[in-house]
Amino acid sequence: MKQTFLAAAAAALLSFGAAQAQEVGVTATEILLGEVQPMSGPASLIGKAGAAGSKLAIAEINAAGGINGRKLRAIYEDDGYVPSRSVSAVKKLIDSDKVFALTGTTGSSHMVAMLPTIEEAKIPTIVHMAPNPAIVNPRRPTVFMIGPDYDLAGYVPMRYMVDKLAMKGGKFGILYQDDDFGKALLAGYQKAMKEFGLASVAEIPFKRGAKDFSAEVLTLKDKGVTGVYLGTLTTESAAVMSEFRRLDMKVTIATLWAGQLPAAVKLAAPAGYPYLIPDYYASNYDPAGQQLMELAKKHLSADDYANFNRYTVSGYVGTKVLAEGIKRCGAAVTRACVVDQLNKLQNFGTAGLTGPISFNNPKAQAVLPIKLFQTDPASATVKSLTDFIAY
């Protein structure tokens, strides 16, 4: 009897010790994740889609029994796309909600604002929505970034214009936002100009928040531009294309990945230009994207499903990558172990949603191959022109 009691006491002590040693955000049955996303305001189009992707990955993983017996759960914090609120939100997730890891981290300047808090907490973090080079330069030991540098977004479509659209003799121009992001696009564009000996006749910067591009478009027309790169976002791209149409310009247009958002495609459709879009995530119209949408129909609410776009793919992939890191740790899930496993990640497959993902490089940045898409204004859809290609 005495022996039984002692054994029970020892077992109780051991289990107490194990519970005490449990990592923050990890229980015997659950692992808690956190995301900071713009869920309200104009950027909610991005945040809600990103969160839907994360919810989808979590639902899929949990439906299959979770990770080594533990279910995933995530808390989504809204930052309204305001950097100071991002900082407050990430502090809440880490300090109050006590999440184990972060899987979604809003826009680039917001992420830069959150970095000191993330570094201090040494929390595993996957950045998959805004691959700002400043995030991984210098390397932050617990931060992993999915996505190529912005300059490839400027390079790939210009190269395609030369290689496949026989535009080597054309006149080229670019509209770019006058900041680091825009300058990276310009660098990619200029690289293509130099590499293929192309004539760049107009490189026009614009200020963030600009709405009226009539003067810029007039300059492009005056310079006789036949191929143009728009470093603009959704509504701005539509406004520029509408100006092109008003001036009846015959021009081949390329823009960056945000151009494949269904809302952007629909906004630009009336202008009638089938524009080129480079992206490192599959589109809604790719077989892999379609398959994911089927899965989304099964696991997500109607509202979340309605938000589906490339950022849903982004959120899904980001969470799946983190889940892989957790899975490789087995039963003993700790932040240090997950960071270690993510550091070793090589050629992680996402069933055609992206190219293979590897973090085993000095920056821990998965520089993904890029696929080129083109819009069809008549049906307001997107078709793929190439497969994922590494440049």
Partner: protein
């Protein structure tokens, strides 16, 4: 039961409070706040820091709109100027944090002349639109002055330091923000009893009558703008030192509207109202989170997809309810509660 006292000399007349009780309550509140870092985590502290810092700006806006009667929708602009001044002075010019903080307030105060001068001829909605335009102008200037502000890339900000002591980290910065708020409250309470403070009240109540009584309207209004902008500039500098990174997105026009909501919900013209209003607006989203959490899984599931819209709606509803049911705001409720307590058992 406490009774009101008759003032028999000038010292009694100019005393901040005619009873010892308010001082004791204030000391108790300060002691509690001083102990808060021992029990609160980073998030709780961050919320309190936000309340302290924004309260300083709202005290400034309250002086302008609540005390001097000059409506402003441009305080996001002053906040932005203060934040960028702090960032530039500490990061690029390596100035000591406290000096930079005061200079940030001074820069905002100088910039306020841009809207202060038109305010001499404008009133009400016209003044509101002018001040709103000021915010747009400031945002554009920041975006275009890339050499100084790094444009839309934003700026890193050095941690606040005074005489070599760094306020890096939530706990240290918490005390810095608390001290700044206490200083701002004391300065405001004293300012409101000075000649200029009483002149602001006179201008608010009837500017023509005030002029007839010998108040220099130009000087009074300009001073109101400058003092208010100084407070807001200092608040902006503290926002920058708190987040350690700024860009124009942090200071949208909505910030000015929120600040005005804080003044209205708190109670126009009341110092404690400004702090209570700020606390309510800052804590409202967290309170709603708790309320939805406590409502159970059913409500949570029902709200899962609409929670952010519902929160935005509730935010508006609370402000509307205050305007409709308690126009004097939280300061009015505070006054009623206090009167009930002081006059008990004779209170009605």
């Amino acid at each position: 039961m406490r009774s009101r006292t008759y003032k028999t000399d000038v010292a009694q007349l100019v005393a901040l409070s005619d009873h010892r009780a308010p001082w004791l309550w204030a000391a108790a509140a300060l002691a509690l706040l001083a102990l808060a870092p021992l029990v609160l985590g980073a998030f709780g502290l961050n919320l309190l820091i936000t309340i302290f810092v924004l309260s300083i700006g709202v005290l400034g806006l309250n002086l302008l709109s609540g005390v001097a009667g000059q409506i402003s929708l441009g305080h996001a602009g002053f906040l932005l100027i203060g934040a960028y001044a702090q960032a530039i002075l500490t990061t690029d010019y390596k100035l000591p944090g406290l000096l930079a903080l005061l200079l940030a307030g001074a820069v905002a105060a100088l910039a306020s002349l841009v809207v202060g001068v038109p305010s001499l001829r404008l009133k009400g909605l016209y003044l509101a639109i002018t001040t709103l335009a000021f915010t747009f102008i400031v945002r554009h200037v920041v975006l275009f002055a890339e050499g100084l502000t790094r444009g839309s890339n934003g700026m890193p900000v050095e941690a606040l330091s005074v005489a070599g002591f760094s306020f890096k980290g939530d706990q240290r910065f918490y005390y810095a923000a608390l001290v700044m708020l206490v200083l701002a409250v004391l300065a405001t309470l004293n300012l409101m009893r000075t000649r200029i403070g009483r002149a602001w009240l006179a201008v608010r109540d009837h500017d023509i009558a005030a002029r007839a009584m010998g108040i220099d309207l130009m000087r009074t209004k300009l001073l109101a703008f400058m003092v208010s902008a100084f407070y807001t500039g200092v608040a902006g500098a503290l926002v920058a030192a708190q987040t350690r990174f700024i860009n124009v997105d942090t200071f949208s026009v909505l910030v000015s509207i929120e600040a005005l909501a804080m003044v209205i919900v708190g109670g126009m013209g009341r110092v404690h109202g400004a702090i209570l209003g700020t606390a309510l607006i800052v804590l409202l989203p967290e309170t709603l989170n708790l309320a939805f959490g406590a409502a159970g899984d059913g409500v949570k599931t029902l709200m899962a997809d609409r929670i952010y819209e519902v929160k935005g709606l509730m935010y508006g509803v609370v402000i509307l309810l205050f305007l409709r049911l308690e126009p004097e705001g939280l300061a009015g409720i505070w006054r009623k509660v206090k009167r009930f307590w002081v006059q008990w058992p004779l209170s009605q």
